[in-house]
């Protein structure tokens, strides 16, 4: 990992690379195989927030655009399209992934959770409640992704250190600069999740 970090000089990217589901595998595959798939649409069954959807799209259409344009799940945001900003973060089988790097066919048979499925205004997830309590959002455009990333972290580790939080969330860009509040909200959410168990 040290070598990887050094080459990339970017710990956040290294975090993603260490996660074989998110970038290394998929980027490599999209480079090598994208042309083979072109224009060959087929029916696929996706489970999003517990609801089964049949879609007829190209297998390589990024999950991001299936969610946004085909299923109107617009809490998922397009920010960069190249796994640099994290605005499109969703959970695939409980793991935080960049939906701009996941092909539709990769999500087939899996459980996709978006910000809308994490919690609702009437039934907030602990992370959302903490985000509201700390009033994290300014423009708010990155916050769906931040919240999904934080929720995935806390599902694995309910007592994250500052370093754990930095490692988990540094791939999520916030142009408004709400990082101090994001850190505080993650800690509050962790506390509230620990209280529940």
């Amino acid at each position: 990992m040290g070598g990887m970090c050094k080459i990339l000089n970017r710990p956040d990217t290294a975090v993603q690379i260490l996660d074989p589901r998110s970038i290394l595998y998929f980027t490599a595959r999209s480079i090598f195989f994208r042309n083979l798939h072109k224009k060959r649409a087929r029916a696929m069954r996706l489970t999003v927030n517990g609801t089964v959807h049949d879609v007829d799209v190209e297998p390589e259409m990024p999950l991001l655009w299936v969610l946004r344009d085909e299923l109107a799940t617009t809490g998922v945001k397009y920010g960069c399209g190249i796994a640099q900003c994290g605005a499109c973060t969703v959970h695939l089988d409980g793991q935080a992934v960049r939906s701009c790097q996941i092909w539709a066919e990769d999500a087939e048979g899996g459980e996709v959770t978006t910000i809308e499925g994490l919690g609702t205004p009437d039934a907030l997830h602990a992370v959302q409640a903490a985000w509201i309590a700390h009033q994290v959002a300014q423009c708010g455009y990155c916050q769906s992704g931040q919240i999904m990333q934080a929720a995935a972290l806390l599902a694995e580790n309910d007592s994250p250190s500052d370093r754990d939080i930095d490692d988990a969330l540094s791939g999520n860009l916030c142009r408004c600069g709400t990082y101090p509040r994001i850190r505080a909200a993650v800690k509050t959410a962790a506390q509230s999740l620990r209280g529940k168990t």
Partner: protein, 745 residues
């Protein structure tokens, strides 16, 4: 009137300075209020008392015409009205409202007047007044220049008070009880016996009453909302993915468009869409200004197809390579390019000639805005009207720009303003709206959503100005004796105005902003601005001129202070001649415990810049580690007259510091072959979470005017960081981004 319009148009300037001389309007024209746009389409049972309040039998609607770009403008505006109306959050809806002259900005012009904040002379006040009158006559509805709070603070409380008093009069008519015996609370008029008459129940009667204009505003001691933490109106929606941004909208039958535009911002010679036209989902391929559009049934398909269009681009009108841009800047330090000598205290040439001058040169690069929500716009054109859904800072200009393309009148263009996923000045421009209108006009009846890919957004971004500064100074007996700063810059104001067919009369006050008005009594002090002829097109980038000029003045002053062997804080305090600015310095010295002992490899820097009428002082602490510079902590004190919402204030100041430090650390837009080389966040990143220091914030309320905080914390940050790095390492950084010279961890 036509002559008036002409004068007004010629002399109008957004975002920076002044009006030409000789503007004389009849007092009547200036005093006459604009029509209330809420009267249009008002139902019989609905009441409106002014352009900001509308009440029906079941809903109270507050109009918040300043665009919410993420800065919390909607909540702030609603709170000011609700304060005086005795409404609680949750008892009203908000709307951005239709574009209207009634929402002209009362503050932006005054702050742009080329006079010091401290200048209370007749000339200064006349100029401010004349500019304010001009903006009113033009009906300039604009969000920008950190003016939303100053524009709204009195006006919206007044609007709330008028509504309250009119509702009381209605209650008096209905109950037969004198107005003086009535109170208001919690969305209702309260009769002496405790009976509550809800505002909504009084709406129909209130609609028949002429609004009461003679109202008294609440004493600050009675404020329930102002100055206390509020829960932003949008916070739940933004934390649950349920707030629809412009890019999220979907209308029935809507088509999705993507564009590929000449990255040299010049015309397209031709294109080959033969591959794209057969791609799945593609509906149309249309040439548009400077490029081509693909319209498809899905955004991603439109992106894929437009990528497959082969385009032949024309040449850029500006230099192809970066070296030539810098050469253009350097060549402008000449008498014939002098825009204005903004300040000359003492006798700078004589002191420089007599003493041993210290010299330094600084640079600030082009930068992209790139809010995280990419530019988009939804437009539907029919014979009778054009509807536009977009987040924009100058709504009435959207109408005129679109009308020009579709052949409608301005009034036929209906703008539905949207919550924006950030702006930082990006949404003052019109390219997304104009292109969407061009496309939709060729597909009349079909709503079209144009979405910029991040790469297109970067390539077409009208970035921050490019500039350089040359400083000459003299120190004597441990004190700064002379400071001579020459700044050469391209002009965001001229570039921006040029794109809407306007020209800037007089010098551009943004070039020296933050430097010429530095609140220091250096005995010999001169600031001169040089106008660099336009290179790449540029625009207002959060804090505009002060983002670079503030870096120059506070870096060079720091160099002189170190050369004099003085303490950076003590010498600034000694030189500071403006009471409000001295107090922010004192506050930040206390907050940061300035005198405390430093560990090895630690360093701290301070900077003070006044922009948009707000003096802000910042201290940055760094440690030089083996792997690079770590920013440990930042302390900020800002003078705003009144902090409207302490939570949002702190968030906003912290965000502005992150913005400023992030770009100073690692961002620049460079050109090669006439094209921006940075096309996504991998090469123009800004600060990430792991780099973010703790940021302590203190808002001061000593000043007589209530000011906005969106931009003023940006200018001091880069200088404070460079000054801290010097203190820690002895290395003076004079050019942004700093990661050209040091690593950051």
């Amino acid at each position: 009137m036509s002559r008036l319009r002409k004068i007004a148009r010629r002399s109008f300037l957004f975002g920076s300075v002044a009006i030409a001389g000789g503007v004389a309007f009849g007092a009547y024209m200036v005093r006459k209020p604009h029509d209330n746009p809420l009267m249009d389409g008002l139902a019989a049972e609905e009441a409106t008392f002014n352009p900001w309040v509308k009440i029906s039998g079941d809903t109270i609607t507050l109009i918040t015409p300043h665009t919410d770009l993420g800065q919390g403008a909607a909540s702030m505006q609603a709170a000011l009205i609700a304060e005086e109306m005795d409404l609680e959050f949750g008892q009203f809806d908000t709307e951005f409202g239709a574009p209207s002259a009634a929402y002209f900005n009362t503050a932006i012009a005054q702050d742009g007047a080329p006079f010091l904040t401290t200048d209370d002379s007749l000339t200064a006040n006349l100029a401010r007044g004349a500019m304010g009158s001009l903006i009113k006559l033009l009906g300039m509805q604009v969000t920008g220049g950190s003016s939303s709070v100053p524009d709204s603070f009195d006006k919206l409380r007044q609007a709330g008070a008028i509504a309250r008093e009119t509702l009381k009069r209605a209650a008096a008519q209905q109950s037969g009880i004198a107005v003086s015996a009535l109170k208001t609370q919690n969305g209702a008029v309260i009769l002496p016996d405790g009976t509550r008459l809800a505002y909504t129940d009084l709406a129909a009667l209130a609609a028949t009453i002429e609004p009461v204009q003679d109202v008294t505003l609440r004493d600050p001691s009675e404020w329930r909302l102002i100055g206390k933490p509020m829960q932003r109106l949008d916070i739940v929606a933004k934390s649950t993915g349920t707030l629809p941004y412009g890019i999220d909208l979907k209308l029935d039958g809507m088509a999705h468009a993507a564009v590929k535009l000449n990255p040299r911002r010049a015309p397209m010679n031709g294109f080959d869409g033969s591959v794209a036209k057969d791609m799945r989902g593609v509906l149309r391929i249309l040439p548009v200004t400077n490029g081509v559009a693909v319209i498809a049934d899905n955004t991603w398909r439109a992106f894929q197809a437009v990528d497959a269009v082969d385009c032949d681009w024309g040449e850029a009108s500006y230099p192809a390579e970066m070296e030539a841009h810098w050469a253009g800047v350097e060549a402008s330090f000449s008498p014939d390019r002098l825009d204005k000598e903004w300040r000359h205290d003492g006798d700078v040439p004589a002191v420089l000639a007599a003493g041993e001058a210290i010299e330094a040169e600084y640079r600030a690069p082009y930068l992209a805005h790139q809010p995280l929500e990419p530019l988009s716009a939804v437009v539907r054109v029919t014979e009778e009207k054009v509807e536009v859904w977009v987040a924009h800072q100058i709504p009435r200009f959207v109408q005129s720009q679109v009308a020009r393309i579709t052949g409608h009148t301005d009034d036929q263009v209906i703008l539905h303003n949207q919550y924006a996923g950030g702006s930082f000045g990006h949404r003052l421009e019109f390219e997304n709206v104009k292109l969407a209108a061009e496309i939709a006009n060729q597909m009349r009846g079909t709503p079209v959503k144009l979405t910029f890919s991040r790469e297109q957004d970067f390539a077409q971004d009208f970035g921050r100005h490019i500039s350089a500064a040359r400083g000459h100074g003299v120190v004597r007996n441990g004190k700064v004796e002379a400071l001579d700063l020459h700044i050469a810059s391209t002009s965001a104001s001229r570039s921006q105005m040029g794109r809407i067919g306007q020209s800037l009369p007089g010098p551009d006050a943004q070039i020296p902003a933050g430097a010429w008005n530095a609140p220091y009594d250096v005995p010999n002090f001169r600031v001169s601005a040089y106008a660099v002829p336009e290179l790449a097109p540029v625009s207002s980038w959060r804090s505009v001129g002060a983002s670079s000029a503030g870096f120059y003045i506070e870096s060079f002053l720091d160099e002189l202070i170190h050369a004099a062997g003085a303490d950076p804080m003590a010498e600034r305090l000694r030189l500071c001649n403006y009471d409000l600015a001295r107090k922010v310095l004192e506050a930040v010295a206390e907050l940061s415990d300035w005198g405390r002992a430093q560990g090895p490899n630690e360093g701290r820097g301070v900077a003070l810049v006044e922009s948009f009428g707000v003096p802000v002082a910042e201290v940055v602490d760094v440690t030089a580690t083996e792997d690079g510079i770590r920013i440990d902590k930042v302390y900020v004190a800002a003078e705003v007259g009144k902090v409207v919402d302490p939570v949002n204030f702190e968030n906003h100041v912290q965000g502005a510091v992150v913005w400023a430090l992030g770009h100073a650390m690692n961002c620049e837009l460079t050109y090669s072959d006439g094209m921006a080389e940075q096309r996504n966040f991998d090469s123009h990143t800004g600060m990430r979470l792991y780099q973010c220091p703790e940021i302590l914030v203190r808002g001061l309320e000593n000043g007589p005017k209530v000011r906005g905080i969106g931009e003023p914390p940006v200018p001091p940050a880069a200088a404070a960081l460079a000054n801290a790095i010097f203190a820690a390492t002895g290395q003076r950084l004079r050019e942004m981004p700093f990661d050209k010279f040091v690593d950051f961890v």
